[in-house]
């Protein structure tokens, strides 16, 4: 066996990583306090010294690639630089060492921050009210669909059960609709990559509950006919939802609420500079138009009589979606991000994100197919169809990019582009970085012709080469066991 030994393999009886203080109150036998029958026989946890712990996890960090390691053009994920000052701010005891049930008189600062954040997000989205409870985008989607469901019930339309979404949508959209007891109706995108209005028209009926769109969509295209779409959706009695994953394209330039969307979620960990944490924690606040406000999860942060407080009194609220008030620590980072940039800064975030994406697209468009035109918003989807004919797939190109020092783009998504390479450079990358990445992609396109094997066998510089994922699924070794 090679690779880094696990903490279980370096464990040795008697080692300890930390001392705890002696008990300063009289002790009684544990058996007497808890009852022998309630006690466990053994606790099979590892035993390590502190230096073992620090070396182990420091080593693991060195075989992990983050935004601070290098370019991370992962489409749909907005892997921008995370301002490090925001980490320091969120870690301040006055934010991180607060108990969620402590008296409101001790919590005026954090409640003010949360209240302001609700106001900021409503302003940025062109909406009227916000809940900060959802812990991630997918939970925001679920929350919003539940708000829609409550609305339909309240207006006597509780039978509506169909959620319509385009074939380019994120996987969370249909999964969320199913979680909310709805049936999913998928419509094919038009030849221009946008919603096909006639397909939408035939899909809409008096059973439609909602239409879920991402704007700009996952092809990096703005849904130019969104006002017409909103009119059609509303005429059919359905509601229009905006998956806000791609807000980085339109900050300060366009607001979904102004185009007729009824609700949307934000991914604070994408758009507003909070780090992704290796897969979370994120934060997925939901912003809504006024008619949905009464249904928001309880509590909301309110301001009255000169003080901030948590308001629990919504009789029409759908209820809670989180044990407390959402991922406050992430909200603090994004709040700091927003006020440090201000309105002009946020506007230039999107302008530069769109500029960088278009520049990169222009640089590689002769070597790779770009099926939906030579202009994009904050990201674009190229195709390795040409290279596939030479025996090199999108996966191979992604892995070969690692050899050139970049993180691969999102691949095989959206599903409607074959051999998709979904590239989102973000605004925080310099022209040098974009050029180096473009050069790498052009070089790989050449290699696909001249030396396809070097691409197919990539990566060559990582601690492990391509892993046998089929064996992982087959063997289901999901935990370490002695003797492994």
């Amino acid at each position: 066996m090679n690779g880094v030994p696990t903490i279980f393999e370096i464990s040795s009886p008697g080692r300890k990583g930390i001392d705890l203080p002696p008990c300063d109150v009289p002790e009684l036998p544990v058996e007497e306090l808890l009852g022998t029958a309630n006690l466990r026989d053994e606790l099979p946890l590892p035993e390590l010294s502190q230096v073992h712990v620090m070396r182990h996890f420091t080593h693991l960090s060195t075989i992990n690639y983050g935004v601070n390691t290098g370019f991370y053009p992962l489409g749909s994920c907005t892997m921008k630089y995370n301002p490090v000052v925001n980490e320091e701010i969120a870690a301040r005891p006055g934010f991180s060492r607060l108990h969620p049930c402590q008296p409101e008189e001790l919590s005026q600062g954090i409640l003010r921050l949360m209240y302001d954040m609700q106001v900021f997000l409503a302003e940025i989205g062109g909406m009227d009210a916000v809940t900060l409870q959802p812990a991630a985008g997918a939970q925001g989607e679920l929350t919003a669909l539940m708000l829609f469901k409550r609305h339909h019930e309240r207006v006597g339309e509780g039978h509506r059960h169909i959620v319509i979404l385009p074939d380019s949508s994120h996987g969370t959209n249909p999964a969320t609709a199913a979680r909310c007891g709805c049936d999913v109706l998928k419509i094919e995108s038009g030849a221009d990559g946008r919603v096909d209005l006639s397909a939408l028209c035939s899909a809409l009926s008096n059973e439609s509950a909602a239409v879920m769109l991402t704007n700009p969509n996952t092809l990096g295209l703005f849904e130019s006919r969104v006002e017409e779409i909103a009119r059609m959706v509303h005429e059919a009695g359905a509601l229009l939802y905006c998956d806000g994953a791609n807000m980085n394209a339109i900050l300060g330039a366009h607001r979904p609420g102004d185009a007729g969307f009824d609700a949307m979620h934000f991914n604070l960990h994408k758009t507003f500079g909070a780090p992704h944490g290796g897969g979370g924690p994120g934060s997925g606040p939901v912003a809504v138009k006024a008619f949905l406000e009464p249904y928001l999860p309880s509590p909301v942060v309110a301001f009255s009589d000169g003080r901030y407080h948590l308001r629990y009194d919504g009789p029409d609220s759908i209820g809670r979606v989180h044990a407390f008030h959402g991922n406050v620590g992430v909200i603090v980072k994004s709040y700091a991000y927003i006020i440090s940039l201000g309105a002009p800064g946020l506007k230039s975030v999107s302008a530069n994100a769109v500029l960088n994406a278009n520049y990169l697209l222009s640089r590689i468009a002769d070597a790779y197919e770009v099926p939906y035109g030579r202009r994009c918003m904050h990201e674009f989807v190229a195709s390795a169809a040409k290279q596939k004919a030479q025996g090199v797939r999108a996966l191979d190109i992604a892995k070969r990019l690692i050899d050139y020092g970049a993180h691969p783009p999102t691949i095989y998504f959206p599903l409607i582009v074959s051999e998709a390479l979904m590239i989102e450079p973000t605004e925080t990358e310099s022209m040098d970085t974009l050029d180096a990445f473009a050069e790498a992609l052009l070089k790989i396109a050449e290699e696909a012709e001249s030396d396809p094997e070097v691409v197919r066998s990539a990566p060559h510089v990582t601690p492990v080469s391509r892993l046998d994922e089929a064996a992982a699924a087959r063997n289901m070794e999901l935990r370490w066991t002695p003797g492994d």
Binding site: V25, M54, N64, E123, G137, L355, S362
Partner: protein, 431 residues
């Protein structure tokens, strides 16, 4: 750059957006602030809160003030970890993947379950997901939930149940424990799962063996929500034949953070793994036969299965799972047991000392871990206001969640509370 793109002005980049939909003004937001100004402002705002460094906390109720070893923030603060994305590209994500694999193993060791996922949002949504999973496994729509489960967890479950068209049936309480007779009455052939929390919301240890028997007899899944620190001493849910075990992982090395981000722990029996929500890491080998780790069983997940997925969860709480992994690695077997013992001893000492005061009673007699209910001679709000003047945050007023428990307070004592702090609390309660 503009020249290469073929435009002359940056505003042309937005020509896909109809002019009527372009915002004709700047957003109405404060700022911009330089880093120096931002830090000054953030210091003012955060210092205006009363935090647990300045106040002695006897509040628990789902968020706990435990000691956090310095190893934890030192590792979670490494930006190779915190600025990475979900490890979809395993060759450049072995650090994160191995840490998650270790987390899954630690969760199994702690809970006595077969398999664990890479985390959920929090204990509340993990419990709701467990119930949805039970419906998926059994094809049944009724969730039978103890009234001693954390009220916010039950509220979250009720929201999810309503959204998915399922029903939540609540079991009544008897002396701070689940009423097992009522449980027996309510579990039927329509029951998808029996949901018990132990130690329960009142801190008391439930009769899991009997609850399991009731669930099993009716073909329902047995779902247990637990406190991971208590498992340093208590028999784990796996030993009671639980089908699914969830927990709030925040006590394992995370600050209370005004209630988030938290850590949803989710574990189940091996034969249910294909119905489990969330990401899972598995061990495998690379082309040269070296051990490596990768996300696996992804055909359960939303990005592959879309509306047929076992859950809609995508982003989870990976960095907090890393915190828990470092926490448990640092404490190890003996350290976690010792933390649990300290919590237990100090909580019992506090309870015994309080009950000697005139007018204070312990209304429930079941064994408890580190939280307990006290019946007070005065309104809880009055007592807590008095405590606050001495920089003590008192227990949770139970009246809002349980009107029949007006005048009752839920106190929590962790290993961080000293004998001196306990005596200060008792002194103020007496006055």
């Amino acid at each position: 750059m503009l020249e290469l793109i073929g435009i002359s002005d940056i505003s042309e980049l937005f020509d896909q957006v109809p002019p009527s939909l372009l915002l004709p003004r700047l957003l109405d937001l404060p700022g911009p602030l330089s880093e120096l100004e931002l830090r000054t402002y953030a210091a003012e705002l955060s210092d205006s809160n009363g935090n647990l460094d300045d106040y002695t906390c006897f509040l628990g109720a789902g968020a706990y003030d435990h000691f956090i070893p310095a190893t934890v923030p030192a590792i979670t603060g490494r930006s190779e970890f915190y600025t990475s994305y979900t490890p979809y590209q395993p060759e450049v994500s072995q650090g994160n993947l191995q840490a998650i694999f270790e987390f899954q193993t630690l969760v199994c060791q702690l809970t006595g379950m077969d398999v664990a996922n890479a985390s959920m949002y929090d204990g509340a949504s993990a419990l709701a997901e467990a119930a949805l999973m039970a419906t998926g496994v059994t094809g049944r729509g009724e969730w039978v939930v103890s009234g001693c489960v954390h009220p916010a967890y039950r509220e979250t479950m009720r929201t999810y149940a309503w959204g998915a068209g399922r029903s939540l049936i609540e079991v009544s309480r008897a002396s701070g424990l689940t009423d097992l007779d009522d449980l027996s009455r309510k579990v039927t052939e329509n029951t998808a799962c029996v949901v018990i929390q132990s130690p329960n919301f009142f801190g008391a240890i439930e009769d899991l063996a009997e609850a399991e028997r009731v669930a099993r007899k009716n073909g329902a899944l047995f779902v247990v929500s637990c406190n991971p620190i208590s498992l340093g001493l208590l028999k784990p849910p796996g030993a009671y034949n639980a089908d699914i075990c969830v927990a709030e992982g925040q006590p394992l090395g995370m600050p209370t953070g005004f209630g988030g981000p938290l850590l949803g722990i989710f574990a189940c029996k091996k034969d249910l793994v294909r119905q489990m929500p969330g990401r899972v890491v598995g061990a495998t080998t690379d082309a040269e036969g070296r051990r490596g780790f990768a996300l696996t069983l992804q055909t359960r997940e939303q990005h592959i299965r879309r509306e047929k997925a076992t859950s809609n969860i995508c982003t989870n709480e990976a960095l907090n799972a890393l915190a828990a992994t470092v926490y448990l690695a640092t404490l190890g077997k003996n350290g976690l047991r010792r933390v649990a013992e300290l919590c237990l001893q100090k909580a019992h000492y506090a309870a015994q000392t309080i009950v000697e005061l005139a007018g204070y009673e312990l209304p429930f007699s079941a064994p408890f871990f580190n939280e307990f209910v006290v019946k007070c001679p005065k309104p809880v709000s009055e007592i807590n206001s008095r405590l606050l003047r001495k920089k003590i945050i008192g227990g949770l007023d139970l009246e809002r969640h349980y009107p029949d428990l007006a005048g009752h307070m839920l106190l929590c004592v962790t290993e961080k509370r000293t004998s001196e702090e306990i005596h200060s609390l008792v002194e103020e309660l007496a006055s």
